[in-house]
Subunit: 480 residues, 2 copies
Amino acid sequence: MTQPVDDLITGLRSRLGSRQVLDSPEVLAVRSLDMSPLPLLQQVLGREAVPPLCVVRPRSTDEVSAALAYLVGRGVPVIPYGGGSGVQGGSAPVPGSVIVDTWAMDRILGLDEEDLTVTVQAGVPLATLEAWLGERGYTCGHYPQSIDLAQVGGLVATRSSGQFSTRYGSIEDLVAGLEAVLADGTVVRVASQPRRAVGPDLRQLWIGSEGAFGIVTEVTLKVVPRPPDRWLQAYAVGSMRVGLDLVRRVMREGWKPAVVRLHDATEAQRSFHGSVAEGECILLLLSEGPVGYAQAEGTAVDTMARAAGLRPLGPAPVEAWLEHRNDVAEYEAYIRRGVIIDTIEVAAPWTGIADIYEQAIGRLVDEVPEMVYASGHSSHSYPQGTNLYFVLAAQPRRDADDAARVYEAIWSRVMETTLALGGTISHHHGVGRFRARWVPRDLGTSYELLRRVKTALDPLGLMNPGSLLPVDPAPGETDH
Amino acid sequence: MTQPVDDLITGLRSRLGSRQVLDSPEVLAVRSLDMSPLPLLQQVLGREAVPPLCVVRPRSTDEVSAALAYLVGRGVPVIPYGGGSGVQGGSAPVPGSVIVDTWAMDRILGLDEEDLTVTVQAGVPLATLEAWLGERGYTCGHYPQSIDLAQVGGLVATRSSGQFSTRYGSIEDLVAGLEAVLADGTVVRVASQPRRAVGPDLRQLWIGSEGAFGIVTEVTLKVVPRPPDRWLQAYAVGSMRVGLDLVRRVMREGWKPAVVRLHDATEAQRSFHGSVAEGECILLLLSEGPVGYAQAEGTAVDTMARAAGLRPLGPAPVEAWLEHRNDVAEYEAYIRRGVIIDTIEVAAPWTGIADIYEQAIGRLVDEVPEMVYASGHSSHSYPQGTNLYFVLAAQPRRDADDAARVYEAIWSRVMETTLALGGTISHHHGVGRFRARWVPRDLGTSYELLRRVKTALDPLGLMNPGSLLPVDPAPGETDH
């Protein structure tokens, strides 16, 4: 900060228009939080989050460019903010920072029905886009739980995966082209091509960039005609190991059911009570695609499941999940009552995954006395491995410091167990500020690549500082 | 060059061992060329290629690191060299340069049958790897025409696609992990994970890097069990437009036949004589996958093809193509007789592809009097578009300058037509030196990202100079 806040706001208003710079206490309060559970809980417990100096709301790529050139030129840290659905603190202001949000960049720019792409400004909410596409017979096939809040630009920047990713891919498979603005205001645009061999895929630099290089301003996504055919089936499974092994073999064969969810016995009792016996896990399968595909895939995986001893439960549990899959009201209610409720997703090759599940849950239950609930499921599978999604609740004493202590006890155990057993610290929630300190260990020697790219694109380190790359990695943390 | 060649060779030998540094005239002559047609033809016509100062042949990542640190530290340009199957001049020495080849890094390091990955040193030839995997019941599903020459590291660095890419993906879909050495000798390693949301996918920086950032030293590739089931069918097609439209609709539905090749009437007569009538194009389809998949896909696409008026020809033309697909002896025979014979592959969204095909062929035939043959096919399709692969022959006067002039006349017409109609200049042969001058226009404003990454990873510009990034882009060439 090299000048008073009033001067900064005046300068921004003269460049973007006065209505594009917000500084009311209400707006600053809303923009001081995303959906990260710990700060939300700490707010309930009386600790206020750090507000930004102001919120800039550009309407166009040119206005993003003007805002970044102005702010970075004055040494002001910039925090990009999309739908605010992040759960890793990636959009939380740091002291003396300005939020640039994408809420006024909400135009759907065009659907190309021959090339199967849709182009949008970064601030279009995914739910809005999906509704618009649905009226025209299309979908992106991307359905993260955050769909009602998340915006397209944020989904790209945080490296999102959707609930149907096994068929449609994650966001890196769905981005056909994009435009972004670097820290210094330089606009870069990667045009959509079916494939190009003209150097590395430069779109990839932005997918998972988490605001650390600049701001994604426009995205061209692939679309598909809404699939005409669907097949559903649920199964009772004796154990997570049996279920994981079946999922591995389904992936190995080359099948790609859109939904493959294996919930542990704890979750089976909580969410599918009555469908399975105590101690049984539940597997949900959903295939969809062109006429002839879903039935062929369903028949094949059903045969494999029965041969592995799974007990078919019919489609009802899958239908129930489809109906309630995005309900998070319960989480918010717990937080209001002072409970830490959080989700942690990791991924690992098949060889390590069952051990990570068992050891992470085991350590939480054995070593964290405040734990009141710990469960997990696998929901995104690949021929090379799968993810684990832990759902965790703990009851700290009713103050913000104790909440942070218990939160740390939970996170460090899951992160350390995952790294020790060969997994990666994040499957699709990204890194933000909460996971940043484990990034050098996760990336090993390739962290040096990330560091050099960061310096090349944001030499002053003002874009979302402390998110994705830790501010000051401890010596030795990159050795592995 | 800051010291005599003898000192340089002595320095390299002291670091890597004397047998890892080659300087015999025979070796230097072999390493002064790759498979690029123009220099091969010019050699036939009496012009010798530029040789390297010497050839360094490291056996390990550490030796690559030592060689790069030594050479770059002394300001010597380094040209990475794999199997030598490139056709864009990307491995051709520049004056005063040293070749670092990967021929002594030829170990298969391990197959993981549970995680479905195989790890190899960069210099393992793909054909060797595929034979080794085949004995164990696996394949990478990657079959470029260069399979008998190309090495795994080079396939990554040049952004390769294989003949079955519609099912298995191109190399960017097949790399699970990798290791590389930066210009200054820094070793970076990206461990294989099924998926991670820990910043951008850093593997992608190396896929298409073309030696401009450093050298890929180790690759972990995904493997699949050899598919048990296959379906083949060929069709006569009235025109390229009809055929392209059918292929577009097959992709749109979500089907992914491993092979989808639409050859124009010229190629149909040359390679499938007797199967189709004069003026007819030919479509080859091959589906493979788990039991139940290939038949379901085959039935669906066969129904679409017949409804579009295509005439089924049975499987024989597909079988003939499978048998002869990698024969390039004819090309070499033409070059020995002083004929320019070359292939150019581009890609474009569906909306532009038929116009590019017609206009590129039309301009070559109308405007280049030396043309003796011009044909094309589409062989890699996507929901968003497809590639075109032109096969071209011309008869220059019998001197090297005239060969270069005719070559330029051909290439500039295909490149300019493709760019003007919204396509990309390369689908899977990469850029090398011959296409580098069109890269800034192809990438548009995103060229700035490539330039910044290059500077971050190779600040002195000594890694494969002039390949991928043009040495001196003309002003205005990045404006689009």
